[in-house]
Symmetry: C2
Subunit: 303 residues, 2 copies
């Protein structure tokens, strides 16, 4: 997960033309030519690139997080599948762990039944950068009284919410990928959001709710889905654990989502779908059909 | 579709270590580090690269055609969906236009009901390169008497077969992508296999058969699916035209396949599935659920 490839031009701050190589796997990278619109360091190094094809791309620590051109696929799959799997009126309180880019909140707020969307993101700079460079990710009304943004470690917040006896209908884990170069997921900021301890807290926070976690692209990062699936199966009853997918071009193919759902989420229960560009009821049903090699090599026959 | 990026090292023949950039879209490319195993020029310039992640990759005119690591997804979706959509025993004669890499034939030959698989590829070098560098693409028995390989322009062959009154149950158009830099698909060898004239011949060759065409990745090459869909809708009755997809990592996401099918191909009719790594009956049914933006922006609401 190095930031810039050896063969790329050095970044020279705002306005510089660069070729940025995003390492995907050993000997394979995505190359983006573009103009640096914004750059800042820190524990999570942020870079916004303007690219002729993708539009704007947000990189955190050298890894593309989303692009203006295809973020809708990632966010619609993340939110509409769990919400549509519930009958009308069932999803009132939504907690988004990570998701400071507002994309997940934007989708959740499309449902009038949703009374509260709480975003807990540790990095206050992500929402600021999105407000400035990615207006399309913002909800139609950023002053929507249902929306609350907290700059906080989601793990700590969840522990507090559990201590307070609060309950949520949907918890969304919309984090950066954990580092896969170590086997214990310890290096990146988001690591605690993949832990067993975190899911035990979530189970208490949403005893009858849905819990969805983005679990990366198994073709290139198999151990994220593999490891997260084991934790889901350890914490939740087997019949409540599901996996679905969405093909996201800037991620290089199918992204995996793990879902704890109290019931059968494979058929949408709502009659109406808000305005979307990717999601339909047919896509919803199709998302749960997994390639055979995911079942045999990653989920070990337990999808 | 230039062969090598400016920023890559020059190739220096067999054994050279190179970084090859495959342009995907304006300002966006895939970068492969690797060792050149084989290289030859000609109308279709061929390069075989050994890459630490993808295994071996075949490039034709600088565009990756397939990799050892994910070719199975492309070929299984191409073949098993049309064959499984027919009832048992219905697919006897299969014609593959292009497909000199044997991958499509390998899948079709898994069905005992298939009595003949005829590959018509214009370039005799592709089968030779595959035999040497991609043994996994070959059918389990290359001497299978059902398999015939002709070095011939598939367009001309189809015209002759039609003149002879021959009939096929399945025709597979497994070609390189047409050039999308011109609007009339005229620059690449495979262009005639996307034409209306070709499909009128196929309609005569397979009056009750299935005709499947790989139609590229619409996210980056929208006009290939758009143009091919118009031709399908012009030549075949609307109720016989279908589109399905498979997510292929080395193609950067969902690849489109257009299918002319006499009936409903969305549910598999066979009870058994041969050994596969991607295809299952659930995947078959799911493949026909298309992202909303394909319907509204590419297939214009007529998927």
């Amino acid at each position: 997960m190095a930031a810039i490839m050896e063969n790329s031009l050095p970044t020279e701050g705002q306005g510089a033309k660069i070729i940025l190589g995003e390492p995907v796997q050993k000997g394979y990278f995505y190359g983006y030519e573009g103009i640096v619109l914004h750059e800042e360091g820190g524990e999570q190094a942020i870079l916004v690139l303007e690219n002729p094809f993708w539009g704007r791309v947000l990189f955190i620590n050298g890894t593309a997080q989303f692009t203006s051109r295809d973020e809708f696929i990632y966010h619609e799959a993340l939110i509409h599948i769990p919400i549509q799997a519930f009958p009308e009126g069932r999803v009132k309180r939504v907690l988004i762990c990570g998701g400071g880019d507002f994309g997940a909140a934007r989708e959740a707020l499309k449902y009038p039944e949703v009374e509260e969307v709480l975003i807990a993101d540790i990095d206050p700079r992500v929402p600021e950068v999105v407000k400035r460079f990615f207006p399309e990710l913002l909800p139609s009304n950023l002053e929507d009284p249902r929306l609350k943004l907290l700059t906080v470690d989601a793990f700590k917040l969840v522990r507090e919410l559990v201590d307070q006896g609060q309950k949520f209908d949907l918890v969304v884990i919309d984090s950066t990928d954990p580092d896969i170069s170590t086997s214990d997921f310890t290096l990146e900021l988001s690591h605690s959001l993949f832990s067993e301890e975190f899911h035990r807290l979530l189970k208490a926070l949403a005893p009858q709710g849905a819990i969805v976690q983005q679990a990366a692209t198994p073709f290139t990062m198999k151990n994220i889905l593999e490891g997260s699936f084991k934790i889901f199966r350890k914490v939740y009853p087997a019949e409540e654990v599901f996996c679905y997918r969405a093909s996201i071009p800037s991620f290089g193919g199918d992204n995996a989502y793990l879902l704890r759902f109290p019931g059968d989420p494979t058929c949408p229960q709502k009659s109406q779908v808000p305005e979307t560009k990717y999601y339909t009821h047919a896509v919803h049903r199709a998302s749960f059909a997994l390639p055979k090699f995911w079942l045999t090599e990653v989920l070990k026959g337990e999808g």
